[in-house]
Symmetry: C2
Subunit: 708 residues, 2 copies
């Protein structure tokens, strides 16, 4: 189908000439090969040739300089639009050549391109960029100056499916424009999506195409034609990071995270030493496997027989925790290699983060040589509660649960531990990733995917060393388990200078934003949100549909909860008449049915019970948001216990729907909120937004996983 | 200067003819009178006239139907642009007339307007609308279809000053466009601002101009010309709500909020009755003034002599708290009037909120007749802690402080009480406003403005009964004290159908958003934010400049805190070399100076002390954000006490700067955060965003009040 020979020839010619950009005619050849529609055109070498070419394709035409040395043609005065006659074509040729020479005296000038001029339709941009972490991305946005100012553009990992391409049309702020506004025609969505798909295939097939712009593309009811193509090439693409296979990852990670034996390299009997804290945490945490302290001189540490080297240990070792200075790590790591230990937990700092990248390169090399997976360096270690394993110098932590968290930074790890303990959030694991010299987020995703103790994965990260590997793992894993990510450093735009429009529009954070959405990752906007999502999402059942109903005792909370629904992408169900009537039976005449269902403030427990039961029983409703108002008639704990009772009564009948609650009242509501949370109803005191955010995150996941 | 006679004549003519819209020539007359530049033009009654008119002003011209019955001219096929010759002008005239007749057979056709055609420049919209609550507003946005889709428009209360008009140019998303992008010229900002000012004066001078569009206005380097004007008139403007003078408000509010004597109408000795709860709260709250129970039969209630009517009470009464059924309120209120009581606190529900607007109208009438200010009805009452006054049926509350809060809804009031108690947030007042039949937010602003016990005002509201009065009070008060508002019902767009572009773009919430900014009100995005702002803003000193520095023990927190700074409009100071060197002296070589100053995780208390002290002492720095990382070397309470020590040491030297802190660590950080907060450093555990939001809010206020 695709004429790949043509493309290969063009790219080889450019490589041979040491060029970084293709000419417009070369761009056209490539577009033709990939079925990307472009206007009729030709290159004129003289004014006369320009006139006859233009006459043959019909006026008006656009004329543009063709020079490998001039990328910004408009700036160079190298573009004249709306050329209407043969005479004008002649004059325009001369003017363009003169302008180009004035702009850059030594520019090599191939000629002047004469092109069929497209008018009408909507101008859009389709492009592609190469991201250091994610690799090839395809982009779509509306054309024109305004969009460049508003940066209204969307990205996807290339290649994309036709459905993914269609989703891009809806992902820009000004999506409505494509549907035709104020008399304008709707564009041909299929044709646009086709073009996006082809561009994404092209850059995926030819890694040396580093940036590509179709700008503008004229989109009409009939189809889409790219009026201009700009292609930047780079024949020195960075090598991707080493990627073990899924089987290899699982084999190592299962041994590291669920070890039968742990060695502590640099174990110490001395209080305050890291090697002492690690030993104590292993012991006091209740780890049941073998513990082997390693120390050059000691015979015994904290009652455990001590060895001079891992090589002296009689049995197998799965995980080696390092608590020795940075400069000693390489030597000890090689010994781990000889002992065939599959994983090293590198607590020490003093590597890349401290201006010692060579020291880090050295240990990575040793790791690869011996096939040892490295966690860190520069980390607090990790916790895996199903094995009572605290392979860390921080405090022991033992509240078991189903959330697996990781952090790139130690401080954030400590915040996770504090929050988890305070909020009674059980965890399956907390993992420090630090410098991510080897093990990174996708390795954890692959491990937690098949870990029955984990139901949600929450990750704090500042960058992705291999965004493509992360995306591939996340796309697969998010179908089974929710993944929440807090991406820090959002506001530092990608610093790399770009020579294309699309490249310049590719703020680093926008790419993370779009790729996360593409692969079903829920993005947390703040540290607290990451933690609340990790806590709240797994306690709720998955909703079976989009219809959310608010039942509230406080009208004021109802309004704020409605606001929060819109903010969090939740759909308030339009209340059917029969259901409206059914709710009205339970509430005072001055209450309001509709949605929110306002049961009014002075109601007894029975009113809450009846309405919530109805909300759970009616199968047109898929999720409930409860607004509680503290009164003497229905005190906080009475409300909380009643709600749990109703929930469990329904669950016994097989009815399970996500429920969240907002509690307005005096301090007693805090106890009630905690009771509700512990019984599967995420509930917050003094907040109308947090419960809805948590429900919204659950919905985001369910949609991404195709469950809705 | 302004030729007001012309405008008056035009408006009277339209009124006489019963028209809702002005014709284009009428619009031009008005623009001329107000110095709003418009193109040359004239109205042609025949094809020949069109040709000669066009020839006289020069080609190209635009031709447009003139008909009071056709508002959407383009839709009607009534506009032809780019008419280039006398011949074309003739043909266009005939076509426009034919199209208009086809569009609306019975349309009255005045003729065809021939207008000088403007080309080049940037198309913008300047308009005005009439809002039910805020009255006249002027609007500015970029022209074109795209902006209508993106709703990128900004509003201000009319009339505006020239500076306010200039601020509008920077308030749209696409503001950069006005500065010229990719070779475009910057527009003449002065000319645009002038035109905005004139439009705002026009609609302020003539209330019957209900909507106005200048669309498009062509803005160039030289000036601004409005190519089209559309004016909608409405001669039946709603009467504004009754507005007492500031003196009247103060006189009543001072007596109501700080009463020497309180009557409880419907006092009861029976537990569980509202009139009993009110009595108990007054007594147990420690109120020192006179308490007069009113009851038709009782001699004495809870030890207080009881009267049959307020008229029987021997002394003056300042505040009458109503705890009787709705239908009895009117009668008792009239008695209050005869007794010359200045304020009634109407706890009862059963009025407008319960479908009884007539009952509410009746009491409003009585209130006006006797000059009694009404709080409510349908409220919990109010607290004023400096007088130990709990005029409410809710629980007594006595943690004194400087935040005055109010809520439109009872449930939100209860959340305020719970949060306040839990967070140890002292309050000066908590006020329920309920149906706001009379007393509303601006009355409270005026009272709290001069109340020395109040340093911040925080209000929850769903609507403003008189947005104009609120805005005027807020503009004045916000110069002295921060005002934070949570506007609920954000997402319900203004339902009123509009017949102009500007009107259609006026989503109700966008108006609230822009007016709040115009008058210096800080908008809270959520209930929790309202509460956190009320708590945090008053404890900090006002910053003296924009330079914020982050000092953190956790690099990871530093990144998240930086993100939060950008999200909250804070400026991270570019670190001067000498200051950078000074910080470096205190931190390890692998730490990072710059901003954030990363002191690294394992540092002793002295490092925190030295760096924070330096941050306070250097007068180029105006605010500090601290990131703490829990370690054994510097435990949480050691950090907290040390920070307070440094802060107080500096304060003794006259150095006071706002400081906030984010604490990452195990649960002990919660106690440390509370200690810091109680000592003037808003601090949060497990959150990098909340402390920065609070600091950001303080900055927003300081900027609005002109202190920065």
């Amino acid at each position: 189908m695709l004429d790949k020979t043509v493309v290969r020839n063009v790219l080889e010619a450019a490589r041979a000439e040491g060029r970084q950009a293709l000419t417009a005619p070369e761009g056209k050849l490539i577009c033709d090969a990939y079925g990307i529609a472009v206007p009729q055109e030709g290159v004129a070498g003289s004014a006369g040739e320009a006139a006859s070419l233009a006459s043959s394709m019909g006026f008006p035409v656009v004329m543009k300089i063709v020079s490998p040395d001039i990328l910004h043609k408009t700036e160079a005065g190298g573009v004249i639009v709306g050329v209407k006659s043969a005479e004008e074509a002649r004059a325009s040729f001369d003017k363009i050549i003169a302008n180009a020479q004035a702009y850059k005296a030594d520019a090599e000038i191939v000629g002047v391109q004469v092109q069929q001029m497209l008018t009408g339709g909507l101008e859009v941009i389709i492009g592609a960029v190469t991201d250091d972490s994610f690799g090839k991305l395809v982009a779509f946005g509306l054309g024109g100056v305004l969009v460049e100012v508003l940066k209204d553009i969307t990205f996807r990992l290339a290649p994309v499916t036709h459905d993914e391409a269609l989703s891009m049309l809806d992902s820009i702020q000004a999506a409505e424009m494509l549907k035709g506004v104020r008399g304008g025609e709707a564009v041909n969505r299929i044709a646009l999506a086709d073009m996006i798909v082809q561009v994404s295939k092209l850059v995926d097939d030819y890694p040396e195409i580093s940036e590509l712009d179709l700008n503008p593309v004229f989109a009409t009811r009939e189809g889409a034609i790219a009026a201009d193509v700009r292609i930047v090439v780079d024949y020195n693409q960075a090598k991707p990071r080493h990627r073990p296979s899924q089987e290899e990852i699982l084999k190592s990670m299962n041994r590291i995270m669920r070890p039968k034996a742990v060695a502590v390299i640099g174990a110490s009997a001395e209080d305050g030493k890291i090697g002492n804290s690690v030993m104590k945490n292993l012991i006091n945490g209740g780890y049941k496997g073998q513990i082997y302290p390693i120390h050059p001189k000691a015979e015994e540490i904290l009652g455990y027989k001590t060895y001079k080297s891992v090589k002296d240990v009689p049995g197998d070792i799965d995980t080696a925790v390092f608590a020795i200075p940075a400069k000693l790590v390489a030597g000890a790591l090689a010994e781990c290699g000889e002992k065939k230990i599959p994983g090293a937990v590198l607590i020490p700092s003093g590597f890349a983060e401290a201006g010692e990248p060579e020291l880090q390169d050295e240990i990575v090399k040793i790791g690869r040589k011996y096939n040892i997976r490295l966690m860190g360096p520069n980390i607090y270690g990790f916790y895996y509660t199903p094995e009572n394993l605290c392979a860390t110098f921080c405090t022991a932590y033992d509240v078991k649960g189903s959330a697996a968290l990781s952090s790139q930074s130690g401080g954030i790890g400590m915040a996770i531990i504090g929050f988890s303990r305070s909020a009674k959030m059980g965890v399956s694991a907390i993992v420090g990733l630090g410098n991510k010299s080897d093990i990174d987020e996708d390795d954890l995703l692959t491990f937690f995917e098949q870990d029955d103790n984990t139901r949600i994965i929450a990750q704090h990260l500042e960058d992705l060393k291999d965004g493509r590997a992360f995306a591939e793992a996340a796309k697969r894993v998010s179908q089974k388990k929710p993944i929440v990510v807090l991406k820090a450093g959002r506001t530092s735009a990608g610093a790399k200078a770009a020579s294309s429009h699309t490249g310049a529009l590719a703020g680093n954070d926008k790419i993370y934003e779009d790729v996360f959405k593409q692969v079903g990752v829920i993005r947390a906007r703040s540290l607290r949100q990451l933690l609340e999502f990790a806590r709240g999402i797994p306690v709720m059942p998955t909703p079976k549909g989009e219809n959310v109903v608010i039942i509230t005792g406080a009208g004021g909370s109802g309004v704020l909860l409605s606001d929060a629904c819109v903010d969090n992408g939740l759909s308030l169900m339009g209340m059917p008449d029969d259901l409206d009537a059914a709710f009205r039976k339970f509430i005072p005449p001055f209450g309001a049915a509709g949605n929110p269902v306002d049961i009014t403030g002075g109601e007894p427990p029975l009113t809450y019970k009846n309405t919530v039961k109805l909300g759970l029983e009616d199968d047109r409703i898929h999720a409930l948001i409860l607004g509680y108002w503290h009164t003497i008639v229905t005190p906080p704990m009475v409300f909380a216990k009643l709600m749990v009772e109703v929930k469990e009564e329904m669950a016994a009948k097989g009815i399970e729907k996500p429920m969240v609650a907002s509690l307005a009242g005096d301090v007693e509501v805090e106890e009630a909120a905690e009771y509700l949370y512990q019984h599967g109803i995420p509930a917050y005191a003094y907040s109308t937004e947090l419960p809805v955010e948590v429900l919204g995150a659950k919905y985001k996941w369910a949609r991404g996983a195709g469950l809705l």
